[in-house]
């Protein structure tokens, strides 16, 4: 009977494709939007992820994220270095600046100053050039988002910039995770950064700390906070802070939430409508089957099989579509490093199952209600 159910469904290509399309569309919308949402949120933590070697970030008590930081006096560095359990501690500066390009365009950039001696604070990998270029005067390393944004046509290597009225030369390209706002980032040595960023007395944004063996990051955090009065966060906590900041301060959870809800509703609408049309067209046949001697239980299984087939194909197409989308746009810096967390296909699977259960149930009600006696009318 399942075979008959499947043939009933596929024998009506229009409705079959309508159903598959509805499910595929919902899956695509839900999966794709959730993927973008999660990846965008994670961008809030990109500043942390780009500095892979720091176990603990130390900052002024009012600082909140890598981008929302209040500068500390440079003495903070020594205070942190004095805390037992601190293997190493380096200064880290993050500031906003304006750049004038050769063509006269103005671009807001983030300047990140990394420790002169160790270069801790740079992204792990370079796309072009080596980190050693920073030892040359006025050197900056641009991130790949900056490259595509400011120099879409030619290599930026050797380009001169006017950075807050100071001369800067691009000598390398870093492979970095873009920030939430896809701001262009220029990496330079800490001492250089102090020149680029106009001087107030306090300019130390963070102290990056590596922990000694034998204690956890959390223990070190507690110790630093107790001994210095500064705020300290583990790498994971600080990444989480960045994500939370976006959730709390932007409308994107709501926006994406609405789109995902729309995907669900549109799915219910398309699939529900098509499913009931399909059932209505076949109500006589279902009635005949019931009269002949097919139980309601078997009818349920038949409709479930129809829903299952539609769901499987539609869901597969929807997920494939999302993968294709991510793949197609992977070269675009906006979507750089986007991936589909395994939870998301699971969520859309649940959504699809809900859609089909709901619409299948609605459609099924009519069949189950049909009196077998109606076949003689």
């Amino acid at each position: 009977m399942i075979w008959i159910a499947i043939r009933m469904l596929t024998g009506d290509p229009q409705k079959f494709f309508g159903l598959v399309f509805g499910i595929a569309f919902s899956t695509l919308l839900i999966t794709q939007q959730l993927t973008i949402f999660v990846n965008l949120l994670e961008r809030g933590a990109s500043g942390v992820y780009n500095v892979s070697s720091a176990d603990v970030w130390v900052m002024d008590p009012v600082s909140r994220t890598t981008d929302v930081a209040y500068a500390m006096p440079s003495t903070a560095l020594d205070k942190v270095r004095g805390v037992p359990g601190v293997e190493w501690a380096v200064p880290h500066i993050r500031a906003n600046a304006s750049v004038r390009t050769k063509d006269g365009d103005l671009e807001g950039v983030a300047v990140i100053g990394v420790d002169d001696a160790t270069l801790i604070g740079l992204p792990k990998n370079m796309i072009e050039g080596s980190v050693d270029v920073l030892s040359q005067p006025d050197s900056v390393i641009i991130d790949d988002v900056g490259t595509t944004r400011m120099f879409p046509d030619a290599s930026p290597i050797g380009e001169r910039l006017e950075l807050n009225d100071q001369r800067a030369v691009i000598r390398g390209i870093a492979d970095a995770i873009p920030s939430f706002t896809s701001t262009v980032v220029l990496y330079t040595k800490y001492s250089n950064a102090l020149n680029f960023v106009p001087g107030t007395r306090n300019r130390l944004s963070f102290v990056l700390v590596g922990k000694a063996d034998g204690l956890t990051s959390q223990e070190l955090v507690d110790r630093i906070e107790a001994e210095t009065g500064l705020r300290a966060r583990t790498r994971e906590q600080f990444a989480r802070d960045g994500v939370d900041f976006i959730i709390e301060n932007t409308g994107i959870p709501l926006n994406f939430g609405i789109t995902v809800a729309l995907g669900f509703i549109v799915g219910v609408a398309i699939v529900g409508l098509t499913f009931s049309l399909f059932i209505r067209d076949n109500i006589k046949q279902f009635g005949a089957l019931k009269a002949i001697g097919v139980t309601n239980g078997t009818i349920r299984k038949m409709v479930a099989a129809q829903a299952g087939l539609v769901g499987l194909i539609g869901y597969g197409l929807g997920v494939l579509g999302t993968v294709g989308f991510i793949y197609a746009f992977s070269a675009n810096p906006t979507f750089k490093g986007f991936y589909i967390p395994w939870q998301i296909p699971l969520i859309s699977l649940v959504a699809v199952t809900l859609i089909l259960a709901l619409t299948g149930w609605l459609a099924l009600r009519n069949v189950l209600k049909t009196e077998p006696a109606s076949v003689f009318r």
Partner: protein
């Protein structure tokens, strides 16, 4: 075979029409024998379809009992009644109600498939039945590729393929011209009437009344005649 194939006792059926209740069948008592072609005739609205629906277990009587080959069918549980129909009753619906997306042989095989027989085996049996009905060469066609008469034969094949003990048929000739109507009745007599099988045909087509072995006349929900021929005044 001893005793009637089907017997109804005091079968009454009410329908609710808005506020009021109309009684369509008034205490029907009748017996149908196996091995005969039994006609149930009467004017439109006299309750023929209602009665045959009750006799074949798809419509509950408001009152009364129906025995089909010794089984009090409305005493069965819902699922047992469904199973009883599947094993014992063949239906020929006026509108055929074939499944459009499966071919003639598969349509004819539906009762066997529903009984759990392997699909291919069922289809082979059904194809043999189509052969018997002289449309063996149409077995692979979809219903919409068949003429109305051929579709009806597929419907007949579906009603007989599982060798039911009771075959019911509502208005098989209503849509046909006189000659075709008689041909279908000949065919039904040939394939459907059997020693241990009851065959009830609902009709108000007076062109075929002479082909019955037995005629039951229903008037306003009562059986007013039971004999081998139509009464003189009809």
């Amino acid at each position: 075979m001893s005793g009637p194939a089907i017997s109804t006792r005091g079968v009454t059926r009410d329908f609710k029409a808005g506020q009021q209740t109309i009684t369509v069948l008034h205490g029907i008592d009748l017996d149908v024998k196996a091995g005969e072609l039994t006609f149930l005739v009467g004017e439109s609205g006299s309750g023929k379809t209602t009665l045959i629906s009750i006799m074949c277990g798809i419509l509950w009587p408001t009152l009364g009992e129906v025995e089909v080959f010794g089984t009090d069918i409305y005493d069965l549980s819902d699922d047992d009644l469904v199973e009883f129909r599947l094993q014992n009753i063949g239906f020929i619906f006026q509108q055929y109600n074939l499944i459009p997306s499966i071919d003639a042989a598969s349509n004819a095989a539906v009762p066997l498939i529903a009984q759990g027989m392997d699909r291919h085996e069922a289809r082979e049996k059904a194809a043999a039945m189509l052969e018997k009905l002289n449309i063996g060469d149409q077995a692979g066609k979809l219903p919409n590729q068949l003429s109305g008469g051929q579709q009806q034969r597929v419907a007949i094949a579906r009603a007989l393929v599982h060798e039911p003990r009771l075959v019911v048929c509502d208005e098989p000739t209503a849509a046909l011209d006189a000659a075709s109507g008689r041909r279908v009745m000949d065919l039904l007599r040939e394939v459907a009437v059997a020693e241990d099988r009851a065959c009830i045909i609902v009709t108000h087509d007076n062109r075929i009344f002479d082909m019955a072995d037995r005629i039951l006349v229903l008037e306003d929900g009562k059986v007013t005649h039971d004999g081998e021929h139509m009464p003189e005044d009809h």
